[in-house]
Symmetry: C2
Subunit: 446 residues, 2 copies
């Protein structure tokens, strides 16, 4: 009899695992349970769906249940796995469609339960108009609310990626936008101060009010009417809470799956958990950070897809290895792209590194070429080993793929002297003769 | 008494050497002889100056003689070094301004004589309207000719970077443009066939007539009127010859400087030639190609600047090392960017590698994001070691800096499996969740 793989969660990691497992072992029975109504969607596209760049939410869906079934993967949406019995190798599933419970045994199990938007447990948190953004359902709810209520003012809680992206979305929709950030600092854990200034200036340029403040409650009758802080009251018709993602680990933990120090599921490089034949991948799991050598929790779609594929291949008898992360991210902030990889100087110092920091401003293409724009490159270097520890870039163009050069350098543990020697592409429309990365490396290397 | 450094040639490598030497050793006397009228200019910008993107040729000048003199570097334009006596440590210089000869002794010498546009020795080569493009003087001559003659038709000889860039320039000026390429193939030595097809299509889309043919003579009375081939005659008002660059090595060779197998000046990693205290850098010199391990001749501004800096630092008593090249290039072809690094499959096979080739087509940003465009990525892999040997990318956006990721991978001798594991940046406006580089690597790794 064929073996059965059960995958819990049908978005990025889960669906990657299912598809890869099926391709790896053609006679494997693959069943995916997804508690929501959608599978395999690009959650990261939601701010642009809400802004109207993408008119139909179905464009965000990579694969439908029907397409997966055609590939031989059984997909059950609105089915929530409520318990795992690792001893008996069974899962208990609640079918929301028919209101019934199922029990199914597995040979291999992939846990890909994702993460949820964290929400501070404040009074009024459940008011209509107070949103987090993570699942496609949450995005559709915001979309519907915006259409029906046409709010004039929005408050964003938090200054992370979601906060930044939603600030852009709200402003493009003509909504007055206030960001309440406890530290008063956008992208605090992602970029250091001098690059952050460029981000703050871009937010201000687009009339986003950035306030150092934190909510104590949400006011309103049924619908949110204001965010209340210790000293202030911010009237608004919609609230977006973007204070981070929390891994959905309750199901796994109850089954005896070990969590790491980050609170997400601990795995080895093959994405195996401590339980036999139980894998975990994506936003519910940790990833090895190659710069620190420690597991980290950086829930991103790119990592989820990679981990899912590794888990799926190995669940199907393969021998794949997840290569780890270096913490590369990029976010659009209006006309600006902001990207980072590796460690910030603050973080590196916290880990005990003696840090050297270099920030340069240069032009993104040859200075004489029409439309040359400023680009800011910051490098974080280990003063002892002279190894690159991290980098941050902000500018209008050529940011995301420049940070990828730094990510590749981190992967290869390059020193700053080596970085300055790279043979990077040059032509006036695309880069200066000394690419800003080389300029930064050469300044850092002095 | 202070030592004297003489630098022969005042463009990219020469001026980098002079400036760096002066910064390294403040009491060094630095004298630069440049036979032309301009120093320190960005020759690569000339096609865009001719197209009208850059309105004043002075914008291409990075540093004027006056600025260099203010930095303590003596610059003599219209001074040609006509002989080097390595035994006596002197140079003979012809001063075109005053029509006299000088002799000057040196302690250190940097040869940065650059390259010239190769020209086939055909009848009519000297006609007015037959141009190569290398020095700023040559660019200004084309500019003047275009303004005075307003040619309706142009013929470009050769399908390299200059040919491609000038095809764009001529078409943007409304000039009928025919490219005569002996092989019929644009960028033949830079990219392999499947990416080349994308380039050919872009040229055709912009009405550039690409013809497999080669000139036997240029026809005209004083001014060029047609290019004549064995079977055809191509009437035209201007001809641009772009069949390659030839290193200016005659002066060095006559002085006993060794040339490499490529015909350019051979140096070690410190940019020293075989003669004591004589360095060479830039378009007249070879560069170590890190993929082949052999010296190569790839005359580019980016390499010239790096080599010049190393030569200058070492001439001033430093201990710098030129890090070698991997052959990274990028060229704009109308709306397309075309980039390559490392070896083409053809070249790798010629060197005895057993080659595996992979070409993929993907979207440059998330497929659902407005304006997502096709991007083509080709990887050349050593079938034995599974190491990346080269890569080629063509597309409208995100090409130049994506090829830099491959250049960084080559520098670090990454395998294709490692390449597929990189933590590259992802956000819908900038890249798909699987960056095209990862897609290509994963396909190649199957």
């Amino acid at each position: 009899m064929a073996e059965r793989l059960i995958v819990i969660g049908g978005v990025a990691a889960g669906m990657s695992a299912a598809a890869k497992a099926r391709r790896t072992q053609r006679d494997l029975e693959v069943v995916v349970f997804e508690r929501g109504s959608f599978i395999s969607y690009a959650a990261c596209g939601m701010p642009y769906f809400l802004a109207g760049d993408i008119t139909d939410h179905r464009e965000l869906i990579v694969r439908t249940p029907e397409q997966m079934i055609a590939q031989g993967v059984h997909v059950r949406i609105r089915h929530e796995v409520t318990a795992i019995d690792a001893e008996a190798r069974t899962v208990t599933v609640h079918d929301y469609e028919r209101g019934r419970e199922l029990q199914l045994d597995y040979d291999k199990l992939v846990i890909a339960t994702g993460a949820r938007a964290e929400c501070p447990p404040l009074r009024g948190c459940g008011l209509d108009g107070v949103f987090g953004l993570r699942s496609l359902e949450s995005g559709l709810a915001v979309h519907r609310f915006l259409a029906e209520n046409k709010p004039k003012a929005a408050v964003i809680i938090g200054g992370g990626y979601i906060g930044i992206e939603m600030a852009e979305t709200f402003r493009r929709l003509g909504i007055d936008t206030t960001m309440l950030i406890r530290s008063g600092i956008a992208l605090r854990t992602t970029i250091d101060e001098d690059v952050r200034k460029v981000v703050h200036a871009e937010l201000e340029r687009h009339d986003v009010k950035l306030v150092k403040d934190a909510p104590v409650s949400f006011d309103g009758e049924g619908k949110v009417e204001a965010v209340v802080t210790e000293g202030n009251r911010y009237p608004c018709g919609i609230v977006m809470v973007g204070v981070g993602a929390a891994p959905n680990v309750e199901l796994a933990r109850a089954a005896g799956v070990h969590l790491g120090a980050t609170g997400a599921i601990a795995t080895d490089a093959s994405m195996r958990t401590n339980l036999p034949d139980v894998f975990a991948a994506g936003d519910c799991a940790e990833a090895l950070h190659l710069v620190t050598g420690q597991p980290a929790y950086v829930p991103l779609g790119s990592t989820a897809n990679k981990q899912g594929r590794v888990a799926g291949e190995n669940a199907a008898g393969g021998n794949a290895v997840f290569g780890g992360i270096v913490g590369t991210i990029v976010v659009r902030c209006f006309d600006l792209a902001v990207a980072a990889t590796g460690l910030t100087a603050d973080c590196a110092r916290g880990l005990g590194f003696e840090v050297q920091e270099t920030t340069i401003q240069a032009k993104d293409v040859s200075h004489y070429f029409p439309g040359a724009e400023d680009i800011h490159v910051r490098l974080v270097v280990d003063a002892d080993s002279r190894m690159l520890l991290g980098g941050q870039i902000a500018g209008k163009r050529g940011v995301a793929k420049r940070v990828d050069v730094l990510a590749t350098a981190l992967y290869n543990r390059m020193t700053i002297a080596e970085l300055g020697k790279l043979d990077l592409s040059y032509a006036p429309p695309f880069a200066p003769v000394w690419d800003p990365i080389l300029v930064a490396a050469n300044v850092a290397n002095k």
